[in-house]
Amino acid sequence: MTENTGVNRLSSVIAGSTIMIALSILPIINFINLFFCSGIIIGGFFGVLSLNRQMRRAGTIMTYKDGVLTGIISGFLAAVTVSGINIISLVYSSVNPISEAMQVFGNYLKNMPPEMLNQLKQLENDFNTQGYSVTLILFTFLSNILIFPLFGAAGGLLATSIILRNKSSLPPES
């Protein structure tokens, strides 16, 4: 991924995904993702800033495609890594996350419809019998694969839009 121009896109993708992963798994600072995935947006944003710095040094001009792809690929890489870390910690942890969640949201559960409660109890039983829930692991993975590239692309697009805001390279089409 290193071009003749000296631009290493992979390093920008890794920089972006490292920020996303750090802001998603490190305790306390991972709260940032609870504000509409700000951690993922910031990762995509800084991945593109890193790419832009390299491209400026190499004398090439960044395009929207570069920015969006950096955000998407950073998000995809981070999603796979974060899902892997989550799955490993779920399998090796003795804590049942569903039981924990049910304790935290105790009052709310009283108002929950019985069908939803049954669904949660099913997931809780999966953890008690197998130590993990295939449904939850699959759903977590699929959610991450959708959310990380989506918000990563938003961060990348935002950074590119700011970098190129005074350069309207393409005329609007009718």
Binding site: F35, M116, T140
Partner: protein, 160 residues
């Protein structure tokens, strides 16, 4: 081309926001729909703390994200709907950067002044600061998405 991109952008924003408000409605509908609602809550838990006391409620159940996030996404959708009337669908010009910075500063202040115990934020302050940034973002993201799509389109059709 720009119209198609805008419609895709609008559809994604609409579905994303609709699911937030459908979660409590589906949860009361029972059986299979309640299971879907359950998965909607789990899906959005990746993006929001979903604390009950900090969330808007619909027919007795909380919506899928907190009041700040639901304001961000609702403001975002409103802005996407209004975009063609405010800027015109073919406009690729972005507003000055300080609009985005000011909106971000308002929201960050609302969060950190509360954490620091200097000012207790409320449903109204969270909804307003979230709504403002949600409303501002499409004015940067829609032109960016259109530029991106135009670049891809021009590359594959050979237009310069």
């Amino acid at each position: 081309m720009n119209k198609k991109i805008y419609l895709i952008f609008l559809s994604v924003s609409f579905v994303w926001t609709l699911l937030i408000y459908m979660a409590p409605v589906l949860s009361t509908a029972g059986s299979f729909l309640a299971t879907i609602s359950d998965f909607i809550y789990i899906f959005y838990s990746k993006t929001c703390h979903q604390i009950d006391e900090r969330s808007f409620h619909l027919i007795g159940a909380k919506v899928a994200v907190c009041s700040r996030c639901s304001s961000v996404y609702s403001g975002f959708l409103l802005s996407v709907v209004l975009y063609p009337f405010v800027k015109g669908i073919n406009s690729l010009k972005m507003p000055p950067l300080w609009f985005l910075i000011a909106a971000s500063v308002f929201m960050v202040l609302d969060v950190f002044l509360d954490i620091g115990g200097i000012f207790s934020n409320t449903f109204i302050s969270r909804a307003i600061t979230g709504g403002i940034i949600g409303f501002i973002l499409p004015f940067y993201l829609i032109p960016g998405t259109m530029n991106f799509a135009n670049e891809i389109y021009n590359k594959y059709t050979g237009n310069k």
